[in-house]
């Protein structure tokens, strides 16, 4: 059910990548790099008789957030599933490398926002897409080493799957809405490989319990949970810049401990309500039915807030 006061606000899930950028940054501040007029499109889709997009589903540039210079990249989940491919990936890699190179210069940015909306690697360009993910990880971590926060925002149609899930886990901070999903193998892929008894991809409630924003936030896979409107994403993005972990041995030692503890505590669970019951949440089956406000209150009390990512 969508409450009345939210239905009037622009929905992150329903918005295009360009609309999300414009809603996130200060009004009119976005300056696109290699925009549509540059004609940088995929050279490989024609082989598959598929139409290209002007931006290859990756829109990048710079702008300001409350007056502060930032870099931004947004995947268009409606084009080829927002996939990592040769051109789309190189645009993101180039942006991250540029942000690092710009540190301590007049062009410096404090933050790179990654508006992930992706099914993972584009299979028509599988090898180039895989490389793009790997190069993104490397460039992202170099940006973090240079003191730049890299913040993932997830709540689009395509979620953050495949390599997108790995990229998410490498970011300084992850903002997610109820509609956001994070995973590596998608439910359909697991069902195809292992059968419906392992993962029934048509059981939408199950899919959401396993991969959805609420579960990720409760378990520690996402750091900020927001309502699904663009304004809520903007609000969270604006306040999270100050408290982010650096990319260091101390951070990764802490993450090692955090992830070991999760396996020890919940490694034998089969579904998220089992985890929530063990974590001391009252009425664990009801987590997905709560209002956003009630869930945010629950998260504040029982969530795994941490600075280990």
């Amino acid at each position: 059910m969508i409450p009345k006061n939210i239905s009037k606000a622009a929905s992150w899930y329903e918005s295009s990548a360009r609309d999300r950028i414009n809603g996130l940054l200060d009004h009119g501040s976005f300056r696109e790099i290699l925009g549509p007029e540059a004609g940088v499109i995929s050279p490989h889709l024609a082989l598959f008789d598929l139409p290209p997009a002007f931006d290859d589903g990756m829109i990048i540039g710079r702008g300001t957030m409350n007056g502060h210079p930032v870099a931004i990249a947004a995947q268009e989940g409606q084009f080829m599933g927002g996939t990592f491919a040769e051109v789309s990936g190189a645009k993101l890699v180039g942006l991250l490398r540029a942000a690092t190179a710009a540190a301590d210069t007049a062009q410096a940015v404090s933050t790179v926002f990654l508006l992930l909306d992706t099914g993972g690697v584009r299979l028509q360009e599988a090898n180039a897409g895989e490389m793009a993910v790997s190069e993104t990880v490397r460039a992202l971590l170099e940006a973090r080493s240079a003191g730049i926060a890299v913040i993932a925002l997830i709540g689009g149609r395509a979620g953050a799957f495949g390599g997108g899930g790995i990229v998410t886990a490498c970011c300084s901070h992850v903002i997610i809405s109820e509609q956001g999903r994070i995973s590596i193998s998608g439910p359909e892929v697991i069902e195809t490989n292992k059968g419906a008894e392992e993962f029934d991809s048509r059981d939408r409630a199950l899919v959401w319990r396993v991969t959805g924003g609420r579960s990720r936030a409760l378990l520690g896979g996402a750091d900020s949970y927001v309502k699904g409107d663009v304004a809520s994403f903007r609000q969270a993005a604006a306040v999270t810049r100050n408290t982010l972990p650096d990319f260091s041995l101390a951070t990764l030692d802490a993450e090692q401990k955090r992830l070991e503890e999760r396996l020890n505590a919940y490694g034998d669970c089969r579904d998220t309500p089992e985890i929530w019951a063990r974590a001391g949440i009252d009425d664990p089956k009801n987590v997905s039915e709560l209002s956003d406000d009630a869930f945010i209150a629950l998260l504040a009390e029982k969530g795994h807030a941490h600075g280990a990512r």
Binding site: S16, R18, G35, E37, P51, P52, F54, Q78
Partner: protein
């Protein structure tokens, strides 16, 4: 996939001062359009479409669009993934509106 260009003339240049506009997404049953001002009174429309064999339909839609908006001095580049003619018309009108806005 099929690629072709339709060139025609308009009664007058499109009003407004915005130089460029992009709209739409290359999703199934949808299309994206890039509008650019090139000056003069010609209209140049480059179409790349996933559906082959519909050139005459495109020509009819564009004729109608040019008559209704007179978009002189505009180049439109389209990537189409099987949009219906009414969707194409709607997007063409939206794009022309975006260029007519003061920049």
């Amino acid at each position: 996939m099929e690629k072709f260009t339709i060139s025609t003339r308009a009664q007058r240049p499109l009003s407004g001062t915005t130089r460029q506009a992009i709209l739409g997404v290359v999703a199934s049953g949808n299309l994206e359009l890039l509008f650019e001002r090139i000056g003069g009174d010609t209209v140049e429309i480059n179409i790349l479409t996933a559906s082959t064999g519909y050139r005459t339909v495109w020509e009819a839609v564009i004729r109608d669009f040019v008559e209704r908006t007179s978009p002189g001095g505009v180049r439109i580049t389209i990537h189409d993934n099987g949009a219906r003619p009414d969707t194409v018309m709607l997007r063409l009108m939206q794009g022309a509106k975006m260029l007519e806005m003061p920049s």
